[in-house]
């Protein structure tokens, strides 16, 4: 298992503390516990304070769905802009356990 932090620290790029998974476009925070997430580049579990060379700042631009982890809502772009302007934490998507149905109750 390669540790992302160590990978990043071996890299030459200067990384500010802010440039962590927590604001990275490639990162999918867990739907319930948003400090843990899935890095779609490295395809591993990371935490919101990890960082690496592939960091890419989240932005709301393309016409697609976004995830607001503050509101726990899936948003269209127009909606996402409003949340973004309200300083909510916006991501590309949330990570959901594929077996989540085992933990859900019927209604």
């Amino acid at each position: 298992m390669i540790h992302i932090m160590s990978l990043a620290s071996r890299g030459s790029l200067k990384l500010s503390g802010k440039a962590s998974c927590a604001s990275c476009w490639n990162w999918l925070p867990h739907v319930h516990y948003p400090f843990i997430g899935y890095c779609s580049i490295w395809r591993v579990t990371t935490f919101d304070d990890y960082y690496c060379l592939n960091y890419e700042l989240v932005s709301v631009s393309g016409d697609r769905f976004y995830w607001c982890s503050t509101c726990k809502l899936r948003l269209t772009r127009d909606d996402a802009i409003i949340h973004w302007n309200g300083n909510h934490r916006i991501f590309r998507a949330a990570y959901v356990d594929p077996d989540v149905r085992e933990e859900l109750y019927e209604g």
Binding site: V31, Y33, F35, G37, F47, Y95
Partner: protein
């Protein structure tokens, strides 16, 4: 005496369910009795849900608030359960949630958010987790702040599992901390995890690691904990089961061969469990060609179809049943009436939930008593039986299937959401199916050519031949003895009388001891009356009240139709003060008792907030009634 309660809270979908089951397993392994239930919002991912567990070396009759331990690894759980923790208890929470504020938790019910804000503001505080911790600590509660992220990082570093597996360990970190604090040896926790996840090594391993990391953390920060002595039930073969499951088991064991359903909470889990086990291996069947028997389980297009299909199957001689909850039962009404007129043996398991209408689909209510008794138009006498607990539910299912066939009638088995989702542990002798013989009544397999489906008999019961055995007519229209539609006044009167005689036969054949049970001292001056799943909470309350010098007995109504009027009157006329305990607003049992016995039930304890009835609710209610002389107490505990 060990008697402890705990709550594990969290977002629905976040692992609360499996964490709760692991706790129950660890408790059972440790030799205790246990009761565990889940409280949840209707299928909403992320909404708050919680598992509530009580365990003891004695009998565990009901859940109890406040609890001794709460695992609350998200802000909503801390704030939601702030009043549920005993001052002797401890809270396990995540230190990273301290700054979170109720007013900004998206998933929280707005009313709860408002209540929290008002309460906190009145203390000059904002409704944050940090302030909640402060309040709890002032009360004397021990708080255990876990650095959840760091612990998860350790888990991740140690095993490098994918995120799904790592995130799943959040609640295991919580429960391992809690169980260790309570004095469970780590082996019990890992054994319980093995039982829970044994067939899925990818999930098991991170959880085992997480549990040991949590325990290590607690040990080094809070010291080694004294070990809790094992409970008295070690070295036994025991079964863990929910109400839904035990009814499914009883149906399978009792020979059910046809079950229909339309999905509805809290009933469909029962059908699910039957379907899971619909292909069963049997031994000792004479027909040696068969070693596996199947049950037809079918999801229908609606509840109307569900009951009508079961009726069709029953007419062929199959043991048939359907299960539903209030909304679906409403749709079944017309068919129930047909089953009475056409004399069809059918079991309807009615899992009550909080109404009216869709109400709160996933919460408790006992509001369908009168609906079930009076379901169906026309004069439609039928059997209605209400089970008080898991063991009763097991035997009642077996009996109900017998009665349906013996008396060629619909039988409605009243159960509810609380029983459905409550887990308990049982010993082998407690569910011995050989106690209830399988009886099928006056069945004829090969009737002659001149078969009268509705032959007039003294006991009102006509020999029943299955469809396909001879020519006959089964009819929902008023009919003559052959089943031909008839509007003749004599035919009509004879058939009306026949059905009434049949109902009298039912009333006579079912022993009084099945219909109602007097628990406690026959000479007690105060009597509680109730039905259904309130039973154990009432028994628990009686024990508690006895300690406080108040003697009470409890008349449990098990068969509500035919109503045991005389036996009820016997008991009630001896009592000075009768209190009805029921989770409905109209006092449905009180109305029924008054209608059948003329006894006016003056006192009542009601729970209307759609949460389970706790023993302490009843203790509180009885004390209010006795000491403050109030007539009616509405109890409001529960989160």
């Amino acid at each position: 005496m060990i008697d402890l309660n705990l709550i594990i809270g969290g977002p629905q979908g976040g692992g609360v369910e499996s964490a709760g089951q692991v706790v129950v397993k660890a408790i059972v392994l440790k030799g205790f009795n246990v009761l565990g239930t889940r409280e949840y919002h209707s299928n909403i991912m992320g909404a708050h849900s919680y598992y509530h567990v009580r365990f003891s070396d004695g009998i565990v009759r009901a859940l109890r608030l406040p609890v001794e331990s709460i695992v609350a690894l998200d802000a909503e759980s801390v704030l939601t359960h702030i009043n549920d923790l005993s001052e002797r208890g401890f809270l396990v929470y995540d230190i990273d949630t301290l700054s979170q504020d109720a007013t900004r938790i998206a998933s929280m019910e707005p009313s709860l958010r408002r209540r929290l804000r008002n309460t906190f503001n009145s203390l000059g505080l904002n409704p944050t987790v940090a302030n909640a911790i402060k309040i709890l600590e002032e009360k004397g509660v021990k708080t255990i702040g876990l650095p959840l992220k760091d612990l998860l990082k350790k888990v991740s570093a140690e095993i490098g599992a994918p995120i799904a597996s790592i995130a799943k360990t959040v609640n295991v970190i919580g429960i391992a901390s809690s169980l260790y604090m309570l004095g469970f040896e780590p082996e019990y926790i890992s054994k319980a995890l093995e039982l829970q996840f044994g067939n899925r090594p990818k999930i098991l391993k991170p959880n085992i690691t997480a549990a040991s990391i949590a325990i290590e953390y607690i040990e080094s920060n809070y010291g080694k904990r004294p070990i809790l002595q094992d409970g008295p039930h070690k070295g036994k073969r025991r079964m863990i089961t929910s109400g839904n499951e035990i009814v499914a088991m009883a149906k399978i064991i009792g020979g059910l061969s046809f079950e229909t359903f339309y999905p509805i909470t809290p009933a469909s889990d029962e059908a699910f469990h039957i379907e899971e086990n619909k292909y069963i291996e049997v031994e000792g069947v004479e027909k040696d060609s068969i070693d596996k028997l199947s049950i037809v389980v079918l999801q229908t297009e609606d509840e109307i179809s569900a009951i009508n299909m079961a009726i069709g199957a029953a007419l062929t001689g199959s043991r048939a049943a359907t299960s539903t909850s209030g909304p679906g039962f409403s749709l079944m009404n017309e068919a129930i009436s047909m089953a009475v007129e056409a004399e069809v043996p059918i079991l309807i398991s009615l899992w009550m939930r909080a109404g009216p209408s869709t109400g709160i689909a996933t919460r408790e209510g006992q509001q369908d008593l009168l609906h079930s008794i009076f379901s169906g138009h026309g004069d439609t006498p039928k059997i209605v039986i209400a089970s008080g607990d898991h063991i009763e539910a097991f035997y009642d299912t077996l009996k109900a299937m017998n009665w349906a066939e013996e008396f060629q009638t619909p039988v409605i088995h009243l159960l509810d959401k609380y029983l459905a989702s409550t887990i308990t542990v049982l010993d082998e002798p407690e569910i011995d199916p050989s106690i209830v013989d399988i009886r099928r009544g006056k069945r004829v397999e090969s009737p002659g050519d001149n078969y009268k489906r509705y032959e007039i008999t003294e006991d009102g019961l006509s020999p029943m031949a299955p469809l396909g055995s001879t020519t006959m007519i089964v009819s929902s229209l008023e009919h003559d003895e052959y089943g031909f539609a008839s509007e003749d006044p004599i035919d009509r009167e004879e058939m009306m009388k026949k059905r009434i005689r049949k109902f009298e036969t039912i009333a006579k054949s079912i022993p009084e001891s099945e219909k109602l049970v007097l628990h406690g001292d026959i000479d007690a001056r105060i009597t509680i009356i109730s039905f259904g799943s309130t039973k154990q909470a009432i028994l628990g309350a009686i024990e508690e009240l006895e300690k406080r010098g108040i003697k009470i007995n409890f008349l449990q109504f098990r068969i509500l139709s035919p109503f045991p009027s005389n036996s009820a009157l016997d008991v009630l006329s001896r009592s000075e003060r009768i209190i009805s305990v029921e989770s409905n607003a109209m006092g449905q049992l009180s109305l029924l008792v008054r209608a059948h016995t003329g006894v006016n039930i003056e006192y009542s304890i009601r729970k209307l907030n759609a949460r389970p009835l706790y023993d302490i609710d009843i203790v509180y209610g009885v004390e209010r009634i006795i000491k403050d002389n109030v007539k009616s107490v509405v109890v409001s505990s529960g989160s």
